[in-house]
Amino acid sequence: MDGWDQLKSDWLARIGAAADETALEDLRVAALGKKGEISLKMRELGGMSAEDRQVAGPALNALKDEVTTALAAKKAALGDAALDARLRAEWLDVSLPARHRRMGTIHPVSQVTEEVTAIFADMGFAVAEGPQVETDWYNFDALNIPGHHPARAEMDTFYTHRAPGDDRPPHVLRTHTSPVQIRYMEAHGAPTRIIAPGRVYRADYDQTHTPMFHQVEGLAIDRDISMANLKWVLESFFSAYFGTNVRTRFRASHFPFTEPSAEVDIQCSWEGGTVKVGEGNDWLEVLGSGMVHPKVLQAAGVDPSQWQGFAFGMGIDRIAMLKYGIPDLRAFFDSDLRWLRHYGFSALQVPAVHSGV
């Protein structure tokens, strides 16, 4: 072994044995610093003969490269070891609870209203709205329910107070969403396709009735819309809404504002006290519907000899209960946090036809 090899192996051994970054830095200075052994030898090259220099120059350069590389490698290794040691010390109990994040919810009534809207929007129905305090004309007369009609008494209407001397007929809290039919047709005429979801009021309170609840009205007016179209629209709606094929049964009935009128049942089964829609041999009444009465069209300024169509009214809370298995209507309006969390929906769960409602 000549001197160069000896020098190299000495330095590499010392670098390899360096215990920490400080020792390594001392070695770098001792080898490659201004007065380091290798630097001094490099300086000596100038005083050599050309022949000696030709031998010593490349050898010295190679030595310098190798020592530099070894220093870098050792530095990296020491750094890794130090990081490993730090990370070992940084152990955390990740089973601790996370910082609290409040989770909000959407009320089932809002969710189902949007579901209904998404489905009917796909069939070309716009969304109309109307006032909740109504005149008795819009709530009754325009819908072919004159003052003495028994249906008025049966509706359990809330009336607004009139001061003594104020002889105007009291306003009512709308008992159904049907007045929106009139207001919308007055403003937009025919043809038209709308739904009108919203709050309605009837003076009734028990297990299945609350003095306020939600309805969605449907109205489609055109030249030749028939009751058979209504049946198709409702079956399409229920199938989309419940996510399974749902048959309907139309039963003749009577509403002053439609003629012919039908109460509509959906197919269901009762097993163990729970109802399943879209299967079985039982029927569950879910809505009232029919062909819009000519007098109603007239009241709204639409010529019944030119236009015809259907209307329906359905309980939003009720179909929410059916779909999501919610047992008690009264709890909808109680705002019990446990109920809101259990039956509520994520803010990002936006109903859309393409993703399912």
Binding site: R102, H148, H171, K231, R251, H254, L340
Partner: protein, 802 residues
């Protein structure tokens, strides 16, 4: 409306089963609400005969009977005192359910002797309360079904009772005859004719009747007659059975006859005891204040315009609603005046509603009674009274005349098909109408249809369409697709405001609030706390005092929800509601609000120290986020003049100018919380979506983004100001110092009092300078900084903190 199957069959000749009939009724619009089929529960029992009855070896009261049954001779142990050889009995076998003892039988051993079934008493079969012994039948073959025997020998016991709901338009279905007519039209049998023949009077009617001229419009026709020498008493069993089956209490033959025709023919009648009357009967409008003790033992006071039937003594009947107690018939009645009249439905409805009086007569007259059946009904009832009570009838006495109802409407048979969407041939339409009592004539597509007198509800072509449709069966209607109004992808339908509402709702929920839906009406005290509670928004007939006022704000409803939750032990609450509040009592006096409420702590206790009480800046952040989601401009003013339910020093009114209020956030007034029983403090916001200006841009394009390539510079400043100076004053002043270079000014520290002295505070701002076309030099930065210090000092009266 209740009726029995056998009663129906007195009007309908049919072979249809009970199930076929009930299904047809529901489909026809006469919705079956219930069927009490008493035969169904007895269907397993058979008739048997006791061959022998021997004393039980170990029990004095028991007998061991050998019984001849359809399955051979069986041994049955029986405890009935009348169990003896030779009698015909009703047998329940092992496996049969016996309703009266709620037991399914099995083969048993009674005191060591095997028994294969039981012989039933009436009570055990729930036929009556009779339990003195087992049933002994006067006839019957061994093995014959007991229900078959009953159907022949005692049909009332197994007569199914059907209850249907009657929609307000179907006056005709308030009589069983009319129900039979519907079923016949559907093809479930033949309607039996009903054509009562007049009873010839044997003496002039001693009771005179008159109608006041001013009353004829609401009481056009009043008829009656006297029947003298009647013997009133219990009506016969068949009549009592029928009335009892439909839930009526038999009273006496005379009264039962009137009830019978009320249900049989929708013909309410009334009977007066002539011996208790004074003089003739006069139909007239009440002056008001007349009183009558009615048959329900209550006294009613007539209001002006109500129609009364009076004799010389005074009012004896509330016309068409209820008779008077004083002239009511009893067991002692021997001379009776039978009334058959027609009353205006609207008049009856008003009177009934005014007096809050309900009766079968009111129910029927206000829906409509056949005006052409007034006299036939009188004759039919006369005949039945003569049959049941004997006596002799006077001539008929009559005032006024039957209302003329004859009218016709054109019916376009093609329009029927178009409206219903079902191919119903013209001939079938004619058949349906004819079988319902209409007459239809006409050669072309359009028929001329005459309406029968018992269909007051039919007032136009649409009503005729309904008749054809319901008899044709809507159950059979085949769905037909409704074509899209326009081909292709459906257009979006939501209006900008509807989209905004959805954005507000979903953003608030995303911020961690639970959506509530609370009642639109609240109690007076809560309404008053929130600017409402006046008469304009008060309900006349609230369901309870707690729900008597339309809510002027959404917050009281949320506070009540919070109080309920706190009472249940849930104290950290983030609730919101989106809905209408009412600022007046007229239609349209409603506006949309988004209201949110934060109560309690930000988090449960945790190892990270996250938990702290919610504060104004939590709710402010959320209010800003929701406003941004609704498209509100970023630059708004914060004023402090909100209504009284806010903490006076801790709320902000977010506005665009003093009159354009977008929302209010802050802490709620402690007094309001106390009044509403909420443990505070409580933070809240109310936003007004309709006040947020609609963006003008019609295009979806966003325009180009400005992203400078030059390094931004941040400089910090701290100013000492009076404690009452708002940070926004400093921020606005600093922002205005150089509108091009200054990109953002942010408050990053606030320090109050301490070394600064009482009533003073330090506000620290960081200002971000963003050069657009070259890197800033130190001199340029210093120049801007100097301007900032100058502007802020001028605006706030403060000094740069050294």
């Amino acid at each position: 409306m209740k009726f029995t199957l056998s009663w129906l069959k007195t009007h309908l000749d049919t072979e249809a089963t009970l199930d076929e009939i009930t299904e047809a009724l529901t489909d026809l619009g006469l919705e079956v609400e219930g069927v009490e089929d008493r035969a169904a529960r007895l269907s397993s029992f058979t008739i048997a005969r006791i061959q022998s009855a021997e004393q039980h070896p170990d029990a004095d009261r028991l007998r061991v009977c050998m019984v001849d049954t359809d399955e051979g001779v069986k041994q049955i142990v029986c405890g009935a005192p009348n169990a003896r050889a030779g009698i015909t009995v009703v047998l329940a076998k092992p496996g049969d359910y016996v309703p009266g003892i709620d037991t399914t039988l099995s083969v048993g051993k009674i005191r060591g002797v095997e028994s294969h079934g039981m012989m039933a008493s009436e009570r055990e079969l729930e036929l009556s309360d009779e339990h003195g012994g087992i049933i002994e039948l006067p006839s019957g073959e061994v093995g014959q079904k007991f229900t078959d025997w009953l159907a022949v020998n005692d049909p009332a016991r197994v007569d199914p009772v059907i209850e249907i709901a009657i929609t307000p338009n179907r006056q005709d279905a308030l009589g069983i005859h009319g129900i039979a007519r519907d079923l016949a039209a559907r093809g479930l049998g033949t309607l039996k004719p009903h054509d009562p023949q007049p009873v010839v009077g044997s003496f002039p009617c001693p009771v005179s009747v008159t109608i006041d001229p001013d009353t004829l419009d609401v009481a056009p026709h009043f008829a009656g007659r006297v029947i003298r020498g009647v013997k009133n008493g219990p009506s016969p069993a068949w009549l009592q059975d029928r009335l009892r089956a439909i839930g009526l209490r038999p009273i006496s033959a005379l009264v039962d006859v009137t009830n019978f025709f009320t249900y049989d023919m929708n013909r309410p009648l009334h009977v007066f005891d002539v011996d208790k009357m004074q003089g003739g009967l006069r139909v007239h409008r009440a002056k008001g204040g007349e009183t009558l003790l009615a048959l329900d033992d209550r006294t009613y006071e007539a209001r002006p315009g109500h129609v009364l039937i009076s004799d010389d003594r005074g009012p004896e009947s509330l016309a068409g609603i209820m008779g008077g107690e004083d002239t009511g018939c009893t067991e002692d009645t021997v001379t009776v005046f039978l009334e058959s009249a027609w009353w205006d439905p609207v008049q009856i409805a008003h009177t009934g509603r005014d007096l809050k009086i309900h009766s079968d007569a009111r129910y029927r007259f206000e829906r409509g009674v056949d005006p052409d059946y007034t006299l036939p009904g009188l004759e039919a009832a006369t005949r039945m009274i003569l049959d049941l009570c004997g006596g002799e009838a006077s001539d008929v006495v009559e005032a006024g005349t039957a209302l003329k109802t004859a009218r016709s409407y054109p019916l376009d048979t093609k329009r029927v098909i178009s409206l219903v969407g079902m191919d119903i041939p013209k001939a079938e339409q004619v058949r349906i109408l004819t079988s319902l009592g209409f007459s239809a004539t006409g050669a072309g597509d359009v028929l001329e249809v005459w309406v029968p007198s018992w269909r007051r509800d039919v007032q136009g072509e649409a009503d005729l369409v309904e008749e054809v449709a319901r008899i044709s069966s809507l159950t059979k209607l085949e769905p037909k697709p409704l074509p899209r109004a326009m081909a292709g992808v459906p257009k979006p339908v939501l209006t900008p405001m509807q989209l905004r509402e959805r954005a507000a709702r979903r953003t608030t929920a995303a911020l961690g609030y639970n959506e509530c839906v609370t009642y639109s009406f609240i109690d007076h005290a809560s309404a008053a706390l929130f600017g409402g509670g006046g008469d304009d928004r008060m309900l006349e007939n609230p369901i309870s005092a707690d729900l008597g006022h339309m809510r002027p704000q959404l917050l009281p409803g949320l506070l009540q929800a919070a109080a309920r939750n706190q009472a249940r032990g849930m104290t950290d609450l983030a609730l919101f509601e989106l809905g209408h509040a009412f600022h007046g009592g007229e239609p349209g006096d409603q506006h949309l609000q988004v209201a949110a409420l934060l109560v309690g702590q930000t988090a449960p206790r945790d190892p990270h120290g996250t938990r702290r009480p919610v504060d104004v800046f939590d709710i402010k952040a959320d209010a800003e986020a929701v406003l941004a989601a609704m498209g509100a401009p970023a630059k708004v003013q914060i004023l402090r003049d909100g209504p009284g339910w806010w903490h006076p020093g801790r709320h902000g009114v977010i506005c665009l100018g003093p009159k354009k209020v977008l929302g209010i956030f802050g802490e709620l007034h402690p007094r309001v919380l106390k009044a509403m029983d909420v443990k505070g403090p409580a933070m809240a916001f109310t936003l007004f979506p309709q006040e947020v200006p609609m963006p003008k841009a019609a295009s979806a394009s966003r325009g180009a983004v400005a992203m400078s390539d030059y390094q931004a510079v941040e400089r910090d400043f701290a100013f000492v100001v009076e404690a009452g100076v708002e940070a926004s004053v400093l921020v606005n002043a600093a922002t205005g110092a150089d509108k091009i270079l200054i990109e953002e000014v942010r408050v990053f520290d606030e320090f109050i009092g301490g070394s600064l002295g009482e009533g003073r505070k330090s506000i620290a701002l960081t200002v971000r300078l963003q050069p657009r076309d070259k890197t800033l030099t130190e001199e340029e930065i210093e120049a801007v900084a100097a301007k900032i210090v100058d502007k802020v000092a001028k605006a706030s009266g403060g000094t740069l903190r050294s």
